[in-house]
């Protein structure tokens, strides 16, 4: 390391760009002052109190959690059978089918949002929650298909064949052999889907309504109007929640494996 000053210097700059803004948010959320200035004036938890009693934030937080949970469950419900079909179906066209199901990844989310806004909300006059749910399932489906598919592709099919050979029916084999094999993939896909849905801005931006607004969009609008330490406090709380998810990820399948796609 010592003899690589250039690489080390660039790496330090890189980490600073990634981490320093996040640290500034956390530190400034504990200010006792009235404005967002740095260094913060004194120490207090007043902005956390204000953030937690500001109903638009809390309502939006509830909406986002609800949307993220429902769309994760549905994306798994639609995606896992697809992954199973691709991995175990012995179909010649499996690679083409796989690329069809991950195709939403290459279209900008804002474009998918615009399409759903025009066609689902304007033309069909459906509710914003329905439009958001469709949009979120569409962008989560590639993850659920790909991640559970990767686990299935790595698992040994001869165990399933053995179960069938020993007389287990297809459903029994699925429940007692395939499902446990898929467990790491299911956990990864669920956590990844939840985070992706919860943080999504481009879809929610166009598909929100007065009755149903998601948390990131509510924050975005608030920040655009005025930025006070309450946003910093809210961000710090969300970060704390995210750390909990990261710990769950590390304890189950592995943090870098789920969110970085890295097998160490």
């Amino acid at each position: 390391m010592r003899s690589r000053p250039v690489l080390l210097g660039l790496a330090v700059v890189g980490y600073a760009v990634m981490i320093v803004p996040i640290l500034f948010v956390v530190v400034s959320s504990f200010t006792a002052g009235k404005t967002l200035s740095f260094p913060p004036q004194g120490f207090s938890l007043q902005w956390f109190e204000k953030a937690l009693s500001y109903t638009p934030f809390i309502d939006a937080l509830g909406s986002s959690v609800l949307l993220a949970i429902v769309s994760t469950i549905l994306a798994l419900g639609f995606g896992v059978p697809v992954a199973l079909g691709i991995a175990r179906g012995r179909m010649r066209s499996a690679p083409i089918i796989q690329s069809f199901f991950v195709s939403p990844l290459i279209v900008p989310e804002l474009v998918i949002g615009l399409a759903l806004y025009q066609q689902v909300m304007i033309t069909l006059r459906l509710d914003s929650f329905v439009a958001l749910l469709i949009g979120h399932i569409v962008i989560l489906l590639p993850y659920t298909v790909r991640v559970t598919g990767a686990t299935l592709a790595l698992s040994d099919t001869s165990i399933e064949d053995a179960a069938r050979g020993l007389g287990a029916g297809p459903w029994h084999t699925f429940r007692t052999v395939t499902l446990p094999l898929m467990r790491p993939g299911l956990i990864s896909a669920a956590l990844l889907s939840f985070i992706t849905s919860f943080n999504n801005v481009p879809l929610s931006l166009l598909l929100q309504s007065r009755e149903f607004r998601t948390f990131p969009v509510t924050m975005l609008d608030y920040v655009q109007q005025s930025y006070d330490p309450m946003i910093a406090a809210m961000s710090t709380l969300i970060m704390a929640g995210t750390v909990v998810i990261a710990i769950i990820a590390e304890r189950t399948v592995g943090f870098a494996r789920i969110f970085g796609g890295i097998n160490q």
Partner: protein, 272 residues
């Protein structure tokens, strides 16, 4: 094993068809209350109008700069992490991935604290006596580039990391043993062998930067309009469906062109 695997694909295919393919095609060919001709007329007008061209140009310029910055900063981090034997490597890697779990709004908000007129840099400049008032660093191209570099750096790092980790470290050692300097080993062994991964990283960052909304909106203000903020204005503020669809088409085509070029480069690299 499964007698009729095609049946498993049906529900997912229906969701994707009705929730993605049909709406996307309808958006291009029949936006509400307009005809497809209007979308393509508008598209033609945009590609000749100096104002619209300046927005496309700015979007591309930001994307190129941010892509370069993410590779120049991300590759060294990925390389050091992939080749490190320290027991803290996992922790550093986790620190590079963690920002991906935070919403773009939270991450971008940090720059408001730093670059705002009462922000850290402004206060520092006043405290050091360089100026009486903090300079306005927000709503500048610099702010947008910094914000997007922060946003996409983790993506560049993990993609480069996976590529470098696949390059056998014995090859580095062999080059070193044959007398190549560390720098020469990096440029003639590690970088060429991990090039397909670097190209993928660059593509992901470029596509992300071309379509990013939150960062140019919060840090660029009205002076730094890009395709994404323009699309939102057309769809929500001025409600000009033809223009919104045309902007969406430009954005999608740009992403497709870059992805296509990169898979060509990656394939060529793999053959050589």
């Amino acid at each position: 094993m499964i007698r009729r695997p095609q049946l498993l694909l049906v529900p997912g295919a229906i969701v994707l068809g009705l929730g993605f393919l049909v709406p996307s095609l309808l958006m291009l060919f029949s936006p509400p209350g307009t005809s497809p001709v209007e979308v393509f007329e508008r598209l033609g007008a945009m590609l000749t109008d100096p104002y619209d061209l300046s927005i496309i140009g700015r979007t591309l310029l930001y994307s190129v700069i941010v892509t370069l910055a993410c590779i120049v900063l991300g590759f060294p981090i990925a390389f050091l992490l992939a080749r490190s034997r320290s027991r803290f490597t996992g922790l550093w890697l986790a620190l590079a991935i963690f920002p991906l779990l935070l919403s773009t709004v939270v991450r971008t908000f940090g720059w408001l604290v730093i670059l705002g007129s009462n922000g850290a840099i402004g206060q520092l400049i006043v405290a050091l006596g360089f100026a009486d008032r903090g300079p306005q660093l927000l709503y500048t191209p610099l702010a947008v580039v910094l914000g997007m570099t922060q946003l996409f750096l983790p993506l560049a790092i993990i993609t480069c990391y996976s590529a470098i980790a696949q390059v056998d470290q014995n090859l580095d050692d062999a080059a070193r043993g044959l007398g190549a300097s560390r720098t020469r080993t990096l440029w003639t062994v590690v970088i060429p062998l991990s090039l397909p991964g670097i190209v993928v990283a660059a593509t992901l960052v470029f596509a992300g930067a071309t379509t990013a909304y939150t960062t140019p909106y919060l840090l660029g203000g009205t002076g730094q309009r890009v395709l994404a903020t323009q699309l939102f204005t057309y769809a929500s503020v001025t409600v000009n469906w033809a223009a919104a669809s045309a902007t969406a088409l430009i954005m999608t085509v740009l992403v497709f062109i870059v992805s296509g070029l990169s898979s060509l480069v990656a394939r060529k690299g793999a053959v050589e």
